[in-house]
């Protein structure tokens, strides 16, 4: 397993090695990054199949714009983990700060701990599974994808939601504008079962509530002006 010491080699050097290995599919095994020291933008822009483990906590935008790579952070992550991810997977063994999975188009973001505010903001197709709780304004303007929360959700969940689907097992402090509780039909139980399985989550899908868009804000109507 190639080991890259971030403190010794520096961010640019470490990312360049990973990006080249991912793009050229020349990886000689799984990569391990040691001494991340909370640095920002670790393992960003990987553009191919590669397995990377970060041994420790990271700063902002870890695994940003990931495509195809499987990245695990053994620790907690700062804001914007896996932002704009296209595919692949990112696993965080600890907690995640704000904007986890922001604007991401695909792949799986698996957060074993809690996620802070605005988790899944403007998500565009990613699947996010948070084993703990999520903060306020999560899934704000979320366009597509699935957000699964095994714990509780903060205020204004799913505000101005588009077509993303949200599953919460615990309580929701409040729903945002145009976000409503929806019926859990068999296809949703099936979808959730598969998501929980992918994230190794031990939870009963029947305990979850589904939330989605009421679609009442899709077209301007003066009678809805009070919603803004």
């Amino acid at each position: 397993m190639p080991t890259l010491d971030l403190q010794a080699h520096g961010l640019r050097s470490v990312n360049a090695v990973l990006q080249t290995a991912a793009a050229d599919s020349v990886a000689d095994g799984d990569y391990e990054i040691v001494n991340p020291l909370g640095s920002h933008a670790i393992a960003v822009g990987l553009n191919g199949p590669l397995s990377v483990t970060v041994k420790g906590s990271t700063g902002y935008y870890c695994a940003g714009m990931n495509k195809e790579a499987d990245i695990t952070v053994e620790g907690s992550v700062g804001p914007g983990v896996a932002e704009n991810m296209m595919s692949g997977s990112v696993t965080v063994t600890g907690n995640a700060s704000q904007y986890a999975g922001a604007t991401a188009h695909g792949g799986l973001l698996d957060i074993k701990g809690n996620a802070s505010s605005r988790c899944g903001i403007s998500m565009k197709g990613i699947d996010i599974v948070v084993h703990g709780n999520i903060g306020h304004m999560s899934a704000f303007m979320a366009q597509a994808g699935r957000l699964v929360v095994l714990g509780d959700a903060g205020d204004a969940l799913g505000d101005s939601l588009y077509e993303a689907r949200i599953y919460v097992r615990g309580t929701v402090a409040s729903l945002g504008a145009d976000c409503v509780e929806k019926e859990m039909r068999p296809e949703h139980i099936e979808e959730l079962t598969e998501l929980l399985k992918r994230a190794d989550a031990d939870a009963d899908p029947a305990e979850f509530t589904r939330y989605g868009s009421a679609r009442s804000l899709y077209h301007f109507d003066v009678d809805n002006a009070g919603a803004y």
Binding site: R12, V44, Y60, Y61, G64, G80, M86, M141, V222, D223
Partner: protein, 450 residues
């Protein structure tokens, strides 16, 4: 003989008098709002009369200045953008770039025209809020990829195939506002690129989803550089709100280029009240921005691109004399390729408007085939011809700017300076920090020269 009393109809009457406050235009807008329950939405930039470059004049050369031969001596026009940190800065032949305008707001033919024209003139064009299309990439030698709050269509592959990245914080038509594209223009293709249901009224975010201030932006720019191997220049575009502080903070965050867009800058669709009442005129923005660059010791190292109502080579020369490194055009480029052309007057009349006043770009019914997603209307615009017209316009603007620069004794457009200018109005003198014509008075000048 006594006069017969005049009848009521013979008495002199006070002429009907329109209110300067409640003008017919104001009243019609009140009635429209009352009838529809929605604010007026339109395209283009501020239409009100504002202090602008027309309020400045070049002094030219005479006894105390030595001109260059107008037709024989060189006056160069090239500019390098983004050489502060990027390993591959942009080298442009002319300091006039094409501003960001989205596929979605514009037809594919319009985007292709802009790419063709810009490439033929040796300059760059820019994507918009909706991602990069293959057509515009193919027809643009130098393409700037916008990184917007919505992140519609954002992906690392397009990030890498762009020549530069423009982080859009705001735009002059609506500083503090987000994008807007109404359902009429959200075709299946546009919706697919933006991951939205087709036909909805799209109102995109006004703030970036994963950073909130200049400290965060600095880290965001680091991420973008890491993803693209530190090759691409990173622009930061701001609307004309607080240009001194916005420019200062953009530089602090690591921008290679600051794009500053005044309130005459256009938009595809925004509330009229926003366009006309928020932001500062372009002329009022440039000097505070240049001061910020100079205060930080990076003037000409971090380049400044000015936009918002640039229409001619005179505007280009004036912007550069006041300290800009380049300008950007949007509305003028659309007019060059055929927007608001009187040849479509019959169609404009049918829409209740007239050529040169048509601004309902959000409705998707553009007779010129530019601000539309209607295939039939869009087919009216020939991208090859549109590209030729834009190239011609860019060349004329450049020749005009060169003409002025030579008359001022400058062998490069970037050598123009505030000392070459005077102002026709007190307002313009105060904003541009050049003397009122016939005086040595610069209103509002501080002891430090600003």
């Amino acid at each position: 003989m006594s006069e017969q009393p005049a009848t009521q109809s013979d008495l002199p009457r006070t002429k009907p008098r329109y209110s300067a406050t409640f003008t017919p235009e104001v009243n019609s807008e009140i009635r429209r709002a009352a009838a529809t329950g929605i604010y007026d939405i339109r395209g283009a930039g501020a239409k009100r009369k504002l202090p602008h470059f027309d309020d400045l004049l070049f002094l030219g050369a005479s006894m105390s200045r030595y001109p260059l031969e107008g037709y024989r001596e060189r006056c160069d026009t090239d500019v390098v953008l983004g050489d502060r940190h990027a390993s591959k800065p942009l080298h442009l032949d002319i300091p006039i770039t094409i501003a960001g305008m989205s596929f979605g707001s514009l037809s594919g033919q319009a985007k292709e025209s802009l790419g063709r024209g810009a490439s033929a003139a040796g300059t760059s064009t820019t994507t918009g809020d909706g991602g990069m299309t293959d057509e515009e990439r193919e027809h643009s030698d130098k393409l700037v990829y916008q990184y917007l709050p919505s992140r519609y269509g954002m992906n690392p592959d397009d990030l890498r195939r762009a020549e530069a990245i423009e982080v859009v914080v705001g735009q002059g038509a609506k500083p503090g506002g987000g994008g807007m594209l109404l359902g009429q223009k959200i075709s299946e293709r546009v919706a697919g690129m933006r991951t939205l249901p087709a036909g909805i009224d799209q109102r995109s975010a006004c703030r970036h989803p994963d950073w909130t201030g200049p400290d965060d932006l600095e880290i965001k720019i680091l991420e973008l550089r890491e993803i693209t191997g530190w090759e691409k220049p990173i622009y930061v575009k701001v609307g004309g709100a607080r240009p001194y502080f916005d420019t200062t903070l953009a530089i602090k965050a690591g921008a290679d280029v600051v794009v500053l867009d005044g309130m005459q800058g256009g938009t595809a669709a925004t509330q009229d009240v926003f366009i006309e009442h928020v932001g500062q005129p372009t002329l009022a923005c440039i000097r505070p921005a240049v001061r910020a660059l100079q205060d930080l010791g990076v003037h000409r190292k971090v380049q400044l691109i000015l936009s918002g109502g640039i229409r001619s080579g005179a505007d280009v020369a004036k912007a550069m004399a006041l300290g800009a490194d380049a300008v950007s055009i949007g509305t003028a480029a659309l007019i060059a390729i055929g927007d608001n052309d009187p040849r479509w007057e019959e169609d404009y009349q049918a829409l209740g408007t007239t050529a040169d006043a048509y601004d309902d770009w959000h409705e998707g019914n553009d007779p010129a085939g530019i601000t539309t997603q209607d295939p039939e209307l869009a087919s009216r615009l020939d991208p090859v011809e549109g590209g030729r017209r834009l190239r011609n316009f860019l060349k004329v603007m450049t020749l005009e700017a060169q003409t002025i620069a030579r008359a001022c004794g400058k062998n490069h457009l970037r050598n123009l300076e505030p000392e070459d200018l005077c102002a026709l109005t007190i307002e313009a003198a105060a904003m541009a920090k050049v003397p009122l014509a016939g005086t040595d008075w610069i209103p509002g000048l501080n002891p430090d020269g600003w």
